[in-house]
């Protein structure tokens, strides 16, 4: 096996280990059955550190990472290699390099071209890890777009005849077992939250000046030596996603041929929606976004929390998604999932101290079903907030069933004069009167939640915010009135299109003000 083959094998092995491909033989081949993932793990992110092995072989080279755009990267080299020398011939007076350990910056040898041996350097005139023989330093390099920088090992010392042998000048060698390790990592750069000149608007947006969306990154620059350099960032996508998605957006916005050198986009949206930006910086393509939405007319501060990009609305909409409101009402029922997929979901809306806006905390109730979910008092206890100083603003849950759908719930059913009959708890329940099983239809209220929901409002002393499959959200709160007739029972908000008693033809204005759902999985 010659040195080239050894080098190639070494490089491939090192790269496989470094890139985590040890499991190249899949589990199936070993007869192992993996469980189906139930949630999405982080699938993309900043490039992890990558380690490359550089053999001790003189002039050996290894390719480092390639990036799609210019990327500032740190390189750390480590690992000494042994330089072996034949015994010096008696009488030789030449400055002879003896057996010794050599660090990453090599060994000074005036007789060698460049004056340094076995050091780890960079090709293409890129700076290396420090002066020959120095302790070495972290190298910071700009990896150019699509380039593949190479690290290279320096030569062996030069020798002449009659230094170690009268017949040879090859007096030194290295061991294939030795190597240096180069750890490479892009300097972390994060794409910031996309900024906008307007968080709220009236749609269609007809003002003269378009809304400007500005992308930025942190940090925006790097200081290397005495020079300050901007962190490269290249825009690769601007995309407006209308929440209603029933009208074509203008395709004239942000005309650019990727990659664009501009960090902004000017756009006049026709409806509420989300501007998504993708940008390559820090060694990977990153995504961020911001929404522009209509304010709710009653000025509810949680629903209008544009400073936090309407995250309460987003969380409310997500309750419907998590509750599988769009699944068949009978879907997912089996022995291991005795309540099916569709179920109520809940959260608590908290108000941050010092006017910081609102955030939500999900409530997990393993016994939740299509009819009820329990929010324990501890979940909205102001004496034990998730963030110091936060106060519970409202509890919230989703009604995931439409009036024209059946629903299945354990433990509920009609009652009269001290007797009770049960609804079908699951689709397989026999609808036999002797088993007291019946199927129930459900009605979401016109402008309020269920009777039980109102009781909870009374008990909890804070409002309840409902999001219903009928496309409406309701805010139920205690009213300081005694007369319950002819007063609005709940604030009603059109959140999205829906099917239900509220499925009156949605107006064009309402469509354009559809709440913007969460972006991504």
């Amino acid at each position: 096996m010659n040195a080239t083959k050894v080098l190639a094998l070494w490089t491939v092995t090192t790269l496989l280990v470094a890139s985590g491909c040890m499991d190249a033989v899949g589990p199936a081949a070993r007869g192992i059955s993996l469980p189906v993932p139930t949630q999405i793990a982080k699938s993309i992110g900043a490039p992890p550190p990558r380690a490359y092995g550089l053999p001790s072989t003189p002039r050996a080279a290894v390719y480092l990472s390639q990036y799609l755009q210019d990327t500032w990267t740190t390189l750390v080299a480590s690992g000494a290699v042994m330089l072996y020398a034949k015994p010096k011939l008696p009488g030789s007076t030449a400055p002879y390099v003896t057996t010794q350990s050599v660090g990453v910056t090599g060994l000074i040898d005036a007789r060698t071209t460049g004056g340094c041996v076995l050091h780890v350097g960079m090709m293409d005139n890129m700076p290396g890890f420090g002066p020959c023989g120095s302790p070495g330093k972290v190298d910071t390099l700009l990896f150019k777009k699509l380039a593949r920088p190479r690290a290279i090992r320096g030569p062996l010392p030069n020798s002449g005849y009659y230094e170690c042998s009268p017949n040879s000048t090859e007096c030194h060698w290295t061991s294939l077992a030795d190597s240096s390790v180069i750890v490479e990592q892009p300097i972390p750069v994060s794409l910031n939250k996309l900024a906008t000149t307007k968080h709220t608007a009236i749609f269609p947006y007809n003002e003269t000046t378009p809304i400007r969306f500005n992308a930025s990154r942190t940090p925006d620059s790097i200081r290397v030596g005495n020079g300050k350099h901007a962190h490269p960032m290249v825009m690769t996508l601007w995309q407006w996603i209308g929440a209603d998605s029933t009208r074509r957006s203008s395709n004239s916005y942000c005309p650019f041929s990727p990659p664009s050198p501009f960090f902004y986009c000017d756009f006049k949206p026709q409806e509420a929606g989300r501007m998504v930006v993708k940008a390559y910086t820090g060694g990977w393509e990153q995504t961020n976004s911001v929404t522009v939405q209509c304010l709710v007319s009653d000025g509810d501060s949680a629903l209008n929390d544009y400073a936090n990009d309407y995250r309460v609305r987003e969380a409310l909409l997500d309750l419907l998604k998590q509750g599988h409101a769009d699944s068949l009402v009978t879907a997912g029922w089996n022995a291991s999932n005795p309540r099916g997929w569709r179920r109520e979901t809940a959260l608590v809306i908290w108000r941050l101290p010092n006017g910081g806006g609102f955030f939500t905390v999900q409530v997990n109730d393993p016994n939740a079903d299509q009819c009820h979910i329990t929010i324990p008092p501890s979940a909205y206890d102001n004496n034990n907030p998730p963030i110091p100083g936060a106060t519970a603003y409202a509890t919230s849950h989703a009604h995931v069933t439409s009036p024209d759908e059946e629903l299945f719930c354990e433990g509920t059913g009609p009652k009269m004069n001290g007797r009770k009959r049960r609804y079908a708890g699951k689709p397989s329940d026999t609808l036999d009167t002797s088993k007291q099983r019946r199927r129930a239809g459900k009605q979401d209220s016109t402008n309020s939640g269920s009777d039980s929901d109102w009781k909870r409002v009374e008990e909890r002393r804070i409002p309840t915010m409902l999001i219903a499959k009928n496309g409406f959200a309701y805010k139920m709160q205690r009213l300081d009135v005694v007369e319950w007739f002819d007063v609005p029972l709940a604030r009603t908000y059109r959140a999205l299109k829906g099917k239900g008693i509220h499925d009156v033809p949605i107006t064009d204005a309402e469509k354009r003000c559809t709440w913007v759902p969460k972006y991504g999985p």
């Binding site: 009036p403 024209d404 433990g411 509920t412 001290g418 007797r419 009959r421 009777d451 007739f485 008693i501």
Partner: protein, 141 residues
């Protein structure tokens, strides 16, 4: 003469208040407002499907009212008891004077008993009856 006096006393008891075994009427409160709002909402054009399911007439909101007439509430309790008994004759309801929410919807009625609340009951089950107390179904509210 004795029969006349007995009959008069009986009439007096009946008109003075509920006798044992007859449901009474729930008064106006938050819960009644919720039920009224629900049924009034069903009168919109988009509620046609739901109305058809329960054979409910389309009436103006002003014709959806909370019943306060004791006789009607007592009759509503009997009608609901009959339905419960037909579902399980071995476990018939026991006649009580529990107050019921009875809602008149044109010529139809909705009846619900929210006494003895069950924490697991997110929804109140409302009996819906057509004219002549013909059972139409149950709607959860």
């Amino acid at each position: 003469m004795r029969y006349l006096i007995a009959g008069f006393l009986c009439l007096l008891v009946t008109s003075a208040g509920p006798i044992e075994g007859q449901n009474t009427c729930q008064g106006v409160d938050r819960t009644s407002a919720v039920f009224l709002a629900n049924f009034r909402g069903m009168m919109s054009a988009s509620g046609a499907g739901l109305r058809a399911r329960f054979s409910l007439p389309s009436v103006p909101p002003s014709e959806i009212i909370l019943v306060t007439d004791p006789a009607t509430c007592a009759r509503a309790g009997q009608a609901a008891d009959s339905v419960m008994t037909s579902w399980d004759p071995t476990d018939p309801p026991i006649a009580t004077t529990a107050p019921l929410y009875v809602i008149k919807i044109g010529t139809s009625y909705a009846v619900v008993d929210v006494s003895d609340p069950d924490p697991n009951d997110e929804y109140a089950s409302v009996f819906v009856f057509g004219p002549g107390w013909v059972f139409r179904g149950i709607v959860a509210m």
